[in-house]
Symmetry: C2
């Protein structure tokens, strides 16, 4: 049963990435940059390794996305009072505004989907996914 859940999520991620990507292309963004922008917009200034933890990705790849965002003026680095080398990354006003617009568009599209599912069903799905994610994440960490 969980096996069928996992079988569904891969094409789901693929297709949602495609949908998101076509919208993003207009703004010259990639899905990776969008993911980093989301974390920055929601969780305030963070260091690159911390962003990697949030997204379950290595810091090296995050660094690329952050550099790309800075090049586009969507993110900026500020001094980290707790660490001289490890700077804090945050969105610029332009980056925050862009991500707000992107998310609004995505929410509008999502609003029409899975219409037959009630809020309690979606909540249940979210809980199952969170539990599965937690345990698979732990299993992945063992390697």
């Amino acid at each position: 049963m969980l096996y069928d859940v996992l079988r569904h999520v891969r094409p789901l991620v693929l297709n949602s990435a495609r949908v998101v990507e076509t919208s993003l292309r207009f703004d010259d963004l990639t899905v990776g940059m969008r993911a980093v922008l989301e974390v920055l917009a929601e969780q305030g200034p963070l260091t690159v390794p911390v962003i990697g933890d949030r997204l379950d990705l290595a810091r090296q790849g995050i660094q690329r996305h952050v550099n790309d965002l800075i090049d586009r003026g969507l993110a900026e680095s500020r001094p980290n009072p707790a660490h001289r080398r490890s700077v804090l990354i945050s969105t610029t006003p332009a980056g925050a505004a862009l991500f707000a617009r992107i998310r609004a568009g995505e929410l509008a599209r999502l609003g029409t989907m899975a219409a037959e599912c009630g809020i309690e069903e979606i909540t249940t799905a979210l809980r199952v996914l969170a539990a599965l994610h937690r345990d698979i994440r732990e299993e992945a960490g063992r390697s």
Copy 2:
């Protein structure tokens, strides 16, 4: 709410791919080859374009995985009675046996996960994911 579902599935896919990949590395397989092998093992002989439809991927990429599988003796092509050029791809006995072993291992690992979720909750999650997948797939197809 659906937004939070989508936010969970991406790292979930990433981490499950990592877990699966470490097991697969032992057999010199990639996740792409494993995905094709799964479709072949479950849905009998199929043409390359049909496999692509099942996985929501372009036939060109599938062709690479199929060629790799054939190189390893895990899949083979047989004449297609309905089409002279478009051959049918099927698993070899070795391929079927390998995938059965792989899946057994994966199921064993999955058995310990999301233990606090009941069968009806997982069923609900599956239904929500299927509905979301269906609508996002349609949205992706429009581009």
